[in-house]
Structure formats: C-alpha cells, structure tokens
C-alpha cells in the first residue's frame, strides 16, 4: 500500500463512525520502490491531500524531517518539497502493518501490501 493510497482511506463505513479519518497507521515492513517524479502532478494532487494525515504518515515512515507539520504556501515553487512528497506518497510501499479506526479502534490489517478494509455484516 502506497502512502498516497493511505491519504484516501477511511473507516467511515463502520456504523456510527462519523469521519473515520485519518486512520492510525502502523508499519511493520516496508520497501522502497522507484517511481518517476512528476512535479506537475504532485502539485495538482495537493487539494486532495490531507496534510495532517500525510504529515502523520511521514512520521510513521521515519521521514518526518522531510515534511513540515503544516502545508507551506507556494508549495509549487518548492521543487525539493514536491520531490520529498513524491517520495513519501509513491515510493514507500507498506507491505505489512495495520490501520486503526480513530473512533472505534477497529483494526484493518495490511498483508502482502494489500489493506483489508472489508467489514463484517454486523459492523455496517
């Protein structure tokens, strides 16, 4: 699971959960994969990024020094930061770990790189 995917995941489908975001991320095993840097795209993606969630993910991925706690202005002119965002979002692949619903504590395992967000009938 790429951290760009993590940015979009919620446990909102659980009955009674209001926001379900950001999920609490735990990484037990990750690998780095190379992915072509497309600065224009990273900039275009910014409105869909939840900066707090991304910053949290950077801390878990031990890349906290790369990402400022709040989104800087004029980020499009900061190619170095765009590059670091790209690395965080597209080059870290979480192979084993888990996601935890911030409201209910429900655990969603990540196994072989695939997050299992499937709910049981009594949870929805």
């Amino acid at each position: 699971m790429k951290l760009s995917t993590y940015n979009f995941l919620t446990s909102m489908a659980i009955k009674g959960v209001k926001v379900g975001f950001p999920l609490k991320l735990t990484i037990n095993k990750k690998e780095e994969v190379e992915s072509e840097f497309n600065p224009t795209f990273i900039e275009r993606l910014l409105p869909k990024l939840d900066w707090a969630a991304i910053y949290g993910a950077a801390q878990v991925a031990e890349l906290a020094d790369d990402i400022p706690p709040t989104q800087p202005e004029n980020i499009g002119e900061n190619e170095l930061l765009l590059q670091k965002l790209h690395h965080l979002l597209f080059e870290i692949d979480v192979l084993e770990g888990q996601l935890e619903c911030p409201e209910t504590g429900r655990i969603f395992p990540i196994t072989d790189g695939i997050p299992n967000m499937l709910l049981n009938e009594d949870e929805v």
Partner: protein
Amino acid sequence: METPYTDHLTREDYDHVYEPAEDSFLLLDALEKDLNFLEKLKPSLCVEIGSGSGVIITALAKKIGTGSICLATDINLKACDATRKTAVRNGARVCPIRCNLTDALRSRTVDVLLFNPPYVVTSDEELQTQQFNSGAEPSTERNLVFSWAGGKDGRRITDLLLDKLDDVLSPTGVLYLLLLQENKPNEIIKHLDSLHFRAVKFLERRIPGEYLHILKVTRSLT
C-alpha cells in the same frame, strides 16, 4: 490504449478471479474512445471497483502514467492479488484495496470511476451476504459467483453504488458503467437523472448471447 500483458496469470488464478472477456474489452474500448475527454479532465484519482484480474485499471494507469493515482477495489482477496501482479507485470502504478465498492474511500474524491459490475440476472439468493464475512475466506466457487451474480434484473450491486454515487464522485467526476440490456439501461438513465446525474449510452456492442452497453455518467450541470 494497449491491452495489458496477462501471461503471468494462470488457469488456477482464473478459478478464483474473473477472466478478462468481451465485457472487459468493451470497457477498455470506451476509455480509448474517451481519451480526449480524460486528458482534459486531468483526473488525480481513478478507481476501478471489482478490478478482478486488474487489466482495465492497469491499462488506464499505463496510459495516464504518473499523472494520476490509480486504485482498485475488490472484495475478493485473490482478485486484489491478481490486480497487484498485473500492475507490476505491466509496470503500472495501481494500488489494490480489499473492500466493498468504494466504502473505504473518502467522500467525493474519485475523478474517474470504472465499474464492470456483477450484471447477470440471478436469484437474489445467489448473491446473499456476498460483500461480508471478511474473516472467512469464501470458497473458490463463491468467489467467482460474486464476480457475475447480479440478483434481480442483474442490478442489486449496481443500484447500491448508484444510490451513493453523489458521495463518491468528485465535483467533476465521471463513471463508466458496463451494463447488459437486461439491466434496463434506460431505466437506470432515468433513475440517475432523478439523482442529478446525466447518463448517456456511450458505447454498445452485441456479442454472442449478450448486448452490452457502457454508460457514461457525470453530474448534471443544473
């Protein structure tokens, strides 16, 4: 658009995962036909529901390259796994998520949504509890049944998605939906109109035993 390599998938994989067929290729052709539109749309998030082997989302991811995030959902773990392998085999960036429809995704984020639903008209019993029981691994046979059994009018799963489409698509989002004539596409177009979506028959094809449609669905401007 190039058809992705699938030589890494075996007969055994297709015992658990829907094998690409005419319906899959019609959806690919629809995307090919609408490439100009997609290039102008500049989607940042593309999602395929029920990706199965992963050929469709992989073909799109190859075409868009690094210009978008491509995600794939499937309730079947073996399909998620096949999708991941197909993406890797073709050097495409696709991330599979095991979930029902788009339930695990934040609201109103999806710019391009693809769905080749289980559309075959069956009894409702055939798809009972299909989206549940994450703990229990369904049997081989059940995995495949869930890939095609659509219940009454072959619409049970499709209707579930359409009723929450407003919460799924981004403000400029588009859905490409594969349907069978028996799913009553005209009725679906009317239903979508009442939900403030504009649906058009974008592509159709007769194949032996089936008449297939691709609906293109966008938000109504009014």
